[in-house]
Symmetry: C2
Subunit: 187 residues, 2 copies
C-alpha cells in the first residue's frame, strides 16, 4: 500500500539542506536524505537526478517565475522595466524560503563545484530573460544587456537578503541594488 505523501519535493529539499548543513554536502547520501524525509530513494529519483539538483530546483522555479512575469509586463514597458516588473513576483516567491535560502547559501559557499553550478544557472537565467525580452520585440543587444543587468542586481540583492533577518526585505534590497547600479554606471 502506498501512503500519500504531501509535498514530497519540499520535504526532500528541507531534509537535504538540513543534512548538508549538519554533515557536509559530500558526506550526505541520497539514501540518508530520503530516509530523513520519510520517503524512499525511488521517490527521490522521481524528482531529482542527483543530490546536487536538490539545491537547484529553486533556480528553475526562479527562472520560470521571472520569465512569466516579464512576459506579462505591460506592453509599453521597455527592456529594463519589464525585467524589473518580473522581480515583484520573484521577491514574493522567496518570502517563505528565507531560512532555507540562508542554509543553502552556506552550503554552496563551501563547495567549488556547487558554486560553478550556481554561476551556470545564473547565466542560463540571463539567457532565458534575454530570450523573453526578444519575444517582446526588444533588439538583441538591449535584451542581453537588460537581462544580464537584472541578474546582476538580483544576485547582489539576494546575497544581502540571506545575510539579514527580514524575509520580506528582498524587494527593497533589489531596489537598493538597482539604484546603486544606476549610480555606478552613470558616474
Amino acid at each position: 500500500m502506498v501512503r500519500w505523501k504531501p509535498d514530497a519535493v519540499g520535504r526532500l529539499i528541507q531534509a537535504a539542506v538540513t543534512l548538508f548543513g549538519e554533515r557536509g554536502y559530500e558526506a550526505t547520501t541520497v539514501a540518508e536524505i530520503a530516509e530523513a524525509a520519510g520517503l524512499t530513494k525511488r521517490t527521490f529519483f522521481r524528482y531529482f537526478a542527483d543530490k546536487r539538483e536538490v539545491l537547484f530546483m529553486g533556480s528553475e522555479q526562479l527562472q520560470e517565475c521571472w520569465v512569466m512575469a516579464l512576459t506579462h509586463a505591460p506592453p509599453g514597458a521597455g527592456a529594463m522595466r519589464a525585467v524589473d516588473a518580473g522581480l515583484d513576483a520573484v521577491a514574493e516567491l522567496f518570502v517563505d524560503r528565507h531560512a532555507l535560502a540562508r542554509m543553502r547559501a552556506q552550503i554552496i559557499a563551501t563547495n567549488p563545484e556547487l558554486q560553478e553550478r550556481e554561476l551556470i544557472k545564473l547565466a542560463k537565467l540571463a539567457s532565458a530573460l534575454a530570450e523573453a525580452l526578444r519575444a517582446r520585440g526588444i533588439a538583441d543587444a538591449p535584451a542581453e544587456l537588460a537581462a544580464q543587468t537584472g541578474v546582476t542586481v538580483f544576485h547582489c540583492a539576494f546575497g544581502r537578503w540571506v545575510q539579514q533577518d527580514d524575509p520580506r526585505a528582498l524587494r527593497r534590497l533589489i531596489d537598493e541594488s538597482f539604484a546603486e547600479l544606476q549610480a555606478v554606471v552613470a558616474a
Copy 2:
C-alpha cells in the same frame, strides 16, 4: 637533443583551433594537436592540462591584463571608470587575435560543455575585477556591480567583434555597448 621551439604555446593554440574547426572538438586528440604544431604530447602537457584548456588560456591572459590595468588606473577614478580604463589594455591585447577569436567562438558555440566553461571563466573574471576594485578602496556592492557590468559590456562587445571584420573595432564596440547599457539602465 632538444630543438628550441619558439612560441610553443601560440603554435599549439593555433593548431588546436584549426583542427577543432576542421574535425570537430570532440574528434580531435592531443596527439594530433601536438603533431600539427610540430611538437610532442609531452610539450603540450607542459602548458595545458587538457585540450579544453587550449581554448581558455586567452581567458587567463584577459583577466591578468584587465586586473593589472584596472589596478593602475588613476587613483581618483571611481569603480566604473577604473573598470573601463582596464578595457583599453584588453582591446589592445586582442587586436592580433581576431581571426583566432572568430574560430574559437564558432567552436565554443557547438559544444555545451565549452559554453559552460566560458560562463564560469567570465564569472571568475568578474570576481577578480571586483576584488581588484575592493583593493582600491571601493565598497563591496559597487565593486561587485561595476565589475559585473564591465564583464557584461565586454561580453556583448566581444560577441559583436567576432561577427564583423575589423580587428581594431573592439574598443569602439565596447564604448557602444557601454552607452547602450547606460541607456537601458537609465530608461
